[in-house]
C-alpha cells in the first residue's frame, strides 16, 4: 500500500522498484547502469544487515504490507519463504524457464517448489567449499605444500584423519579450526541431509548426518579439532597466526581470510577437499506479491543475474557466480590471486561448484543445524561424551519440531 503508489504518481510515469539488498553485492552500480538503459525505470536500493532483512521481509509478508518490489533472500532463509510461496510471484510465469539452463542445477532447484512448478527466486552467487591450508604448518609437519600434491594426498576422509594425526604429532596443532566447518563439509557431501521432501526428520539411526557427526567426534577425541567458534575474534586471529592446518571453507571466505590475516599473504593455499565439495551461502532474488510492477521487476532481475553481470559482481565484489557460461570465460577461470601464491583460485572453486550435490534442506534446517553444532561444541570444549550429546540434541530437535 501507500508508499510505492505515492511515488509512482509523483514520478511522471516512471516505474519505481524498491530493492532490498544485504552484504556487499555491488548491485548499486549495476542498478545505475540499468537505469541508464531504461530511463522509465527507477530502482531504489536499500541496504541492511542480512538477518534484519529476512526478519523485516517476514513481518511484511505476515502483516501483508511493507514488502519491497524486489528482495534478496539468502539460501539459509529460502526454504522458510518457500513456505509462503503464494506471497511471491512465480517467476516461471515471466519466462524463467528460458534461462534455467544457464545456471547450476542444484542452485536453481533450491528456490523451486518440490514439484518443480513454482520458482520464487533467481540465483545469484554461491559459496562452493574447498580446502584452505597453511603452507607453513604443512611444512612443519613434513607434508608437501603444492596444491596438486596436497589434493592427491587428501583423497578420502580417512586420509584426512591420518594426516591430522601427523600434523598433531609434528606440530602439536589441530588440523581444523573448530568442529563446525569440518562437520558442514561432511554433511554437504551426503545425498540427504536433515529432512526428506515431506519434511520428516531422517537423521536417526545410521544416517549420513550421524556418520558426519561421528567422524567429527572421532577427530575431536584425537585432539585434532580446534576449539574456535565461528566469527569470534579468536577464530579470526587463528587465521592470522596459523594455529591450525586446514580451513574447510567456501569461496567468500577468501575475503575474510585476507581481512583477518593481511600479513599471512603467501602462506595460504587452496585445493579440493576430500570426496567432493559442498556449498555455504549465496542468495536468490525474489519478487514479493505486493509489487505492482512484477514485469518490470522481473526484466531487471533477469538482467541482474545474467552471466555478464555475475562476472562483474565477481570481479568487483568477489561474489562467486552460479551462471555456468561464466565458468567458460577466460578472464574468470584464469584469474589468479597473489595472496594465495598466484593460484588460479576461481578455477578451483568452479570445479568445486560443479561437484555440489543437489539437496533438499527444508524449512527447519536451521533448528537441526544449531543443535548439532551446539552438541559438537560441547564435545570439543567440555570433553563430554559424543553419544550422550547426540541423544540430547536429538531430543531438543524433536521437541522443537513437534510444536510447529
Amino acid at each position: 500500500m501507500g508508499c510505492s503508489e505515492d511515488e509512482d504518481a509523483s514520478g511522471d510515469g516512471k516505474v519505481t522498484l524498491k530493492f532490498w539488498v544485504f552484504g556487499s553485492a555491488g548491485y548499486e552500480q549495476l542498478a545505475e547502469e540499468y537505469m541508464e538503459d531504461h530511463p522509465d525505470v527507477n530502482i531504489e536500493i536499500n541496504h541492511s544487515e542480512m538477518n534484519d532483512l529476512h526478519n523485516n521481509l517476514f513481518t511484511s509478508i505476515s502483516a501483508g504490507s511493507g514488502a519491497p518490489d524486489i528482495t534478496m533472500i539468502e539460501v539459509s532463509a529460502i526454504a522458510k519463504f518457500m513456505e509462503a510461496q503464494d506471497r511471491f510471484y512465480n517467476l516461471y510465469d515471466f519466462g524463467a524457464e528460458d534461462i534455467k539452463d544457464q545456471y547450476l542445477d542444484w542452485k536453481w532447484n533450491m528456490a523451486e517448489s518440490p514439484d518443480g512448478s513454482y520458482l520464487i527466486g533467481l540465483p545469484t552467487d554461491i559459496g562452493p567449499t574447498t580446502m584452505f591450508y597453511r603452507t607453513d604448518v604443512f611444512e612443519e609437519a613434513g607434508l608437501p605444500t603444492d596444491p596438486d600434491e596436497v589434493s592427491s594426498m587428501f583423497q578420502t576422509w580417512e586420509d584426512f584423519f591420518e594426516i591430522g594425526k601427523q600434523i598433531k604429532a609434528e606440530t602439536g596443532k589441530p588440523i581444523v579450526d573448530g568442529p563446525e566447518l569440518l562437520y558442514n563439509a561432511l554433511r554437504d557431501q551426503a545425498d540427504q541431509q536433515y529432512f526428506n521432501e515431506n519434511d520428516e526428520l531422517i537423521i536417526e539411526g545410521n544416517s549420513a548426518v550421524k556418520e558426519a557427526y561421528d567422524f567429527t567426534a572421532r577427530l575431536i577425541e584425537e585432539g585434532l579439532v580446534g576449539q574456535n567458534e565461528l566469527w569470534t575474534p579468536e577464530w579470526g586471529n587463528a587465521m592470522a597466526d596459523g594455529s591450525y592446518g586446514v580451513l574447510l571453507a567456501p569461496s567468500w571466505m577468501v575475503a575474510n581470510v585476507k581481512e583477518n590475516a593481511p600479513d599471512a599473504s603467501g602462506k595460504w593455499r587452496i585445493t579440493t577437499m576430500p570426496e567432493g565439495a559442498g556449498n555455504w551461502g549465496g542468495s536468490y532474488i525474489a519478487i514479493p506479491k505486493e509489487s505492482e510492477h512484477p514485469e518490470e521487476a522481473y526484466a531487471f532481475i533477469e538482467w541482474l543475474v545474467s552471466p555478464e553481470n555475475q562476472l562483474t559482481s565477481f570481479k568487483n565484489n568477489g561474489l562467486f557466480p552460479s551462471a555456468l557460461p561464466v565458468y567458460e570465460e577466460s578472464d574468470f577461470i584464469e584469474s589468479t590471486d597473489d595472496y594465495f601464491g598466484g593460484q588460479q583460485v576461481a578455477k578451483i572453486f568452479s570445479e568445486a561448484a560443479e561437484q555440489v550435490k543437489p539437496v533438499y534442506m527444508g524449512k527447519n534446517h536451521a533448528i537441526v543445524q544449531t543443535e548439532i553444532v551446539n552438541a559438537l561444541m560441547n564435545v570439543v570444549t567440555k570433553g563430554t561424551d559424543p553419544e550422550a550429546e547426540w541423544d540430547e540434541a536429538l531430543t531438543r530437535i524433536k521437541a522443537q519440531l513437534e510444536r510447529q
Binding site: N51, N55, I61, E83, E229, T232, E234, I367, N374, Q400
Partner: protein, 310 residues
C-alpha cells in the same frame, strides 16, 4: 421530594454542589491528565497484548491460517525442560546481575552525594558512561573480554591467581557470570542516578546530627540513607525484577544465534520460538506465563524490599 422544605434543602444542595464541582473538577482534570497514556496505549499497546493472548491458543507460523489448539501450546511449553532451564537461567542471572548491582548503586550514590569526595564530577560521569553505550559496543567489547581462549583477558587475569581458564560462552556458570557482569556494568549507573535523585529527599540535618553523634560513614549509610531511600529502593527492585525477567539483548548478542541452553533466558526462548522456529503459539503461551511469573516475583520482591532497613 417535598416542596415545603425547599429553602433549607436548596441551601444544603448549593453547598453540596459547590463541593461536588470542586471534586468533579479534580476528577475531570485527573482523567484528562492521564488520558494521553491510555489513548496511546489503547492504540499501540492493548491490541498487541490481546493479540498475544489470543495467539497463545492458536497454532500459527506467521504466514498460513491460524488453527485453534486449546491449551496445547501451554502444555508444550510447560513440558519442555528447556523452558524450565530458561526460567532457572533467568532467575540465576537476575540474582547475580541485579542484587549486587542495587547494593553497589546505593553505596555509589551515597558516596557521590557526600561532600567529602573529591573529583565528584569525574566519578559521576564515569559511572554513568556505560549507560550511553549501545548494545553493539557492549557485545563486541565484552565478547573480547570474556573470550574462551586461555589468552582472553579475564582468563589471563585468572591465571595470575593460578586459576584455570573458564569457557565463558559454553560453561554453565561462565555464561551466567559473563552476562550478569554485562548487565551489572551497563545498569549500575542507571540505578545510581535514581538513588541520587532519591538522596535529595533526605534532609541534610539528619546527617549533620549523625556526624555530631560520631557516626561512621557506614553507620550513616545503614541508619539514615537506606531507610530514607526505601521508596526508591522499592522502585528499583520492582524495575530490576521486571528487567531481569525480560533479559534479552545481552544474551542474544553474547551468545549469537546458538541459543545455548546454558545462557538461554525466557524471553530468548520465546523469541526463538516465534522468529526462528516460527511457532507463534508456544511463543505467546510463554509470554503469558512470563507475565504471571513477573507479577508474582515483583510482588514478592517489593514485599521483601519493603522490609529493608526496618
Amino acid at each position: 421530594m417535598n416542596l415545603n422544605t425547599d429553602k433549607n434543602k436548596m441551601k444544603n444542595i448549593s453547598i453540596f454542589t459547590a463541593r461536588m464541582t470542586e471534586e468533579k473538577k479534580e476528577m475531570v482534570t485527573g482523567y484528562l491528565y492521564i488520558s494521553p497514556f491510555f489513548i496511546l496505549f489503547t492504540i499501540f499497546g492493548l491490541f498487541p497484548i490481546l493479540f498475544s493472548f489470543y495467539l497463545g491458543f492458536q497454532k500459527w507460523n506467521g504466514l498460513t491460517e491460524m488453527e485453534f489448539v486449546g491449551w496445547a501450546n501451554f502444555r508444550f511449553v510447560l513440558e519442555d525442560p528447556l523452558f524450565w532451564k530458561s526460567l532457572y537461567n533467568t532467575f540465576i542471572m537476575g540474582l547475580l546481575g541485579t542484587f549486587p548491582q542495587l547494593v553497589v548503586a546505593i553505596v555509589l550514590a551515597f558516596a557521590l552525594n557526600s561532600a567529602l569526595i573529591k573529583f565528584r564530577n569525574f566519578y559521576r560521569v564515569s559511572y554513568f558512561m556505560p549507560y550511553v553505550t549501545s548494545t553493539v559496543a557492549v557485545a563486541v567489547v565484552f565478547g573480547v573480554i570474556f573470550s574462551e581462549q586461555e589468552s582472553g583477558l579475564i582468563n589471563v587475569i585468572l591465571s595470575w591467581f593460578h586459576l584455570d581458564p573458564v569457557n565463558w560462552t559454553t560453561s554453565e556458570w561462565g555464561v551466567k557470570f559473563a552476562i550478569a557482569a554485562m548487565v551489572f556494568w551497563r545498569w549500575v549507573g542507571y540505578n545510581t542516578i535514581i538513588y541520587l535523585a532519591g538522596l535529595q529527599s533526605i534532609p541534610k540535618e539528619l546527617y549533620e546530627a549523625a556526624k555530631i553523634d560520631g557516626a561512621t560513614l557506614f553507620q550513616q549509610l545503614r541508619y539514615i540513607t537506606v531507610p530514607m531511600l526505601r521508596p526508591f529502593i522499592i522502585f528499583t527492585v520492582f524495575l530490576s525484577t521486571i528487567g531481569a525477567f525480560q533479559l534479552f539483548t545481552e544474551p542474544l548478542i553474547f551468545l549469537g544465534r546458538s541459543y545455548r541452553e546454558e545462557g538461554i533466558t525466557v524471553v530468548l526462548y520465546l523469541w526463538r520460538e516465534a522468529f526462528v522456529n516460527l511457532s507463534f503459539g508456544p511463543a505467546s503461551a510463554t509470554a503469558i506465563l512470563l507475565f504471571f511469573i513477573i507479577i508474582i516475583f515483583s510482588s514478592v520482591n517489593v514485599f521483601l524490599a519493603n522490609r529493608i532497613g526496618r
